[in-house]
């Protein structure tokens, strides 16, 4: 379970997140981190990962504060996948995952057998990239690189998985593939998974929970179907949108255009202002 309490983050004198508390995120669930560009999503993720030191507040993972934890202690529990894909790297997929596993000692390393070549190969097989094990990272497509990155994160057996726009370089089928895998791994490993997403429909389809940010503040927080609403989209993104169930019952966001200026007052929104459609199951 992950809890954020009064988290404050600043770069120098520029405050990005003035103080953010969110409801507890349960193990085995995927939380989508939504919000427009510059709303502080990536910064929040980095702060939770410990790559940016928060000015104040707590990041509690099962009650233990990650902000106070040392580098290695935190790395035993948290895995973070940044947006940028590495370039010009002369490493095979297998080697990159081995390096991720052996960079710093893991709890019970060797015991679970994922830190040797065979264990890594099994992990890659599970992610569907076993046949790429000996290929160089540079020769992979964006989607394959992202899956290799996911393997680098999962090999560390984290309890908290943080992904910054893992789908941005991927085509449609890879987007679904990655999200399906994430759901499967999140469930089977009991992870708390926090993902920065741009695509609202992907969030509606694949996430359980949602945090919506605007200007570093939490604009909405709750089950994804209750958070992604016409009112919230107008307030946070400044667009006029409808959420309608498709013929198979999946909720879909349809954007009609920019919202009238009065809707973007930035206040937290709990209520849907538009006509509320029944929202189908998110799987």
């Amino acid at each position: 379970m992950l809890e954020l309490r009064g988290l404050q983050v600043a770069y120098g004198r520029r405050t990005v997140i003035p103080g953010l508390s969110a409801s507890a995120l349960a193990a085995g669930t995927i939380t989508a981190l939504l919000g427009p560009n510059g709303s502080g999503k990536s910064t929040l993720l980095k702060a939770v990962a410990g790559l940016v030191r928060p000015r104040g507040g707590q990041v509690l993972l099962d009650g233990a504060d990650l902000v106070r934890a040392g580098f290695r202690q935190r790395a035993r529990q948290v895995a973070y996948l940044p947006q940028a894909l590495p370039a010009d790297v002369h490493l095979s997929v297998l080697e990159s995952v081995l390096a991720a596993a052996r960079a710093t000692p893991l709890d019970g390393a060797g015991a679970h057998g994922e830190t040797d070549a065979q264990g890594v190969q099994a992990l890659l097989d599970r992610l569907g990239i076993g046949h790429l094990a000996m290929r160089h990272l540079d020769s992979l497509s964006g989607g394959q690189k992202q899956l290799a990155g996911l393997a680098q994160a999962l090999v560390r057996r984290p309890r908290l998985l943080l992904l910054d726009e893992p789908l941005s370089a991927l085509d449609l089928s890879h987007q679904f593939h990655v999200m399906d895998l994430l759901r499967q791994e999140t469930r089977s490993r009991g992870l708390v998974t926090l993902i920065v997403l741009h695509d609202l429909n992907i969030a509606l389809r694949h996430a359980d929970h949602c945090l919506m940010l605007r200007d570093g503040r939490l604009a909405a927080d709750g089950p994804v179907a209750q958070v992604v609403t016409a009112g919230a989209l107008a307030a946070v993104y400044g667009v006029q949108a409808r959420i309608e169930a498709c013929s198979r019952g999946f909720p879909q966001v349809i954007v009609d255009g920019l919202a009238p200026a009065c809707a973007t007052d930035g206040r937290p929104l709990q209520e849907d202002t538009g006509k509320h459609h029944r929202i189908g199951p998110t799987q």
């Binding site: 940044p82 046949h131 593939h177």
Partner: protein
């Protein structure tokens, strides 16, 4: 479409292929060692003083029974300079590979980013003006100054790269500025120097192995022998940092500390090498590129590989420096520059525009 179904049991062949790859890399390291030995032998048997290989080897095996002049040529001139070439090459190769990794820059090397030039300036202060770090034994003042100035420039680079938030080409430009300013300062020292000190300084700024004696060879060999295990202890972290600093940080690597540790090692190797043989350029740039081709970037193999490639390259350059002009030993720094500059340009031109 992503391939979802991997062939059943694919795990074992890939693990076996990986094991084979590691075996090949170990063999490649051994192969390099053999080539270095061969090059050393050739380098040792080549020179202005016409001695047959048989006589040379006899003198090597039994110095006491040999002709005194031959003994001096073999033991005090040929052998130390041949060994020094390999040791300096190893130091620069190792320093270059670590530098390219932590600065994430294929153009990084002690020479191209100004560490060697700064070390040269530090050393020239002692040689010409007798300005050194107080408290250091006289025999080591040149080396200590060279190290101190190399470290200073390395820290400057580190600060600029980390806090200046400039990209890799910005770091290279800053390094070039460091080279220019250090060279200008060395010129100033030369301008102030007495005639005999000047001659020594000029010879030394060209980069020359001919003044190497056993104490210097021993000191530098010791430094390489001490630094390589420390580098290898960081091998997994240095490999992981190739995946990006944020990613490395999330693996629990203290990236800042890793940078500082590595820069200290680089400065020691580059500073000592410069203080003994002057600025020998491009070996530290070329060796990592060749090593990367041979070993990939698993730093357990890449780092020692780069050291060995550096040793081989400089040993061959030393051999070439005796054969460019008959009867004259050209300073080896000139040879490495002539070979290295086209290579440097090739690296720049091959880099994809981003």
């Amino acid at each position: 479409m992503p391939a979802r179904a991997a062939p059943a049991g694919a795990g074992v062949p890939a693990a076996a292929a990986y094991a084979r790859l590691l075996r090949r890399r170990k063999l490649a390291l051994l192969g390099l060692l053999a080539l270095i030995a061969a090059s050393l032998l050739l380098d040792f048997t080549t020179g202005a003083y016409g001695l047959g290989p048989g006589e040379l080897l006899r003198t090597l095996a039994d110095p006491a029974g040999a002709d005194p002049t031959t003994r001096v040529v073999v033991w005090d001139i040929r052998l130390p300079s041949a060994v020094m070439a390999a040791v300096v090459g190893a130091a620069l190769g190792l320093a270059g590979s670590e530098m390219q990794t932590i600065l994430n820059n294929p153009l990084a090397s002690p020479f191209t980013l100004g560490l060697s030039a700064a070390a040269a300036f530090g050393a020239s202060l002692v040689i010409v003006l007798d300005i050194g770090i107080p408290g250091v034994p006289v025999a080591w003042t040149v080396a200590a100054n060279a190290f101190a100035f190399a470290l200073l420039s390395a820290l400057l680079l580190h600060a600029v790269a980390r806090w200046g938030r400039i990209d890799t080409s910005g770091v290279v430009l800053f390094g070039i500025a460091l080279v220019f300013s250090s060279n200008a300062l060395v010129s100033l020292v030369q301008f102030l120097a007495q005639a005999e000190a000047l001659q020594g300084l000029v010879f030394w700024t060209l980069g020359s192995l001919s003044r190497a004696g056993w104490p210097q060879v021993g000191a530098l060999a010791l430094a390489v022998a001490a630094m390589l295990p420390l580098s290898l202890r960081d091998a997994w972290q240095l490999t992981a940092i190739r995946l990006g600093e944020d990613r490395a940080g999330s693996f629990g690597i203290d990236v800042r500390r890793l940078h500082l540790r590595t820069l200290a090692r680089i400065s020691l190797l580059a500073g000592l090498a410069v203080s003994f043989v002057g600025t020998i350029g491009f070996v530290g740039l070329v060796a990592p590129h060749i090593a990367r081709r041979l070993f990939g970037e698993d730093h357990r193999y890449y780092l020692p590989g780069s050291a060995l490639v550096g040793a081989l390259v400089l040993s061959l350059a030393s051999l070439a420096s005796k054969n460019v002009m008959p009867g004259v030993v050209v300073p080896v720094g000139i040879v490495t520059a002539l070979v290295g500059i086209p290579f440097f340009l090739a690296v720049i031109l091959r880099r994809p525009a981003r």
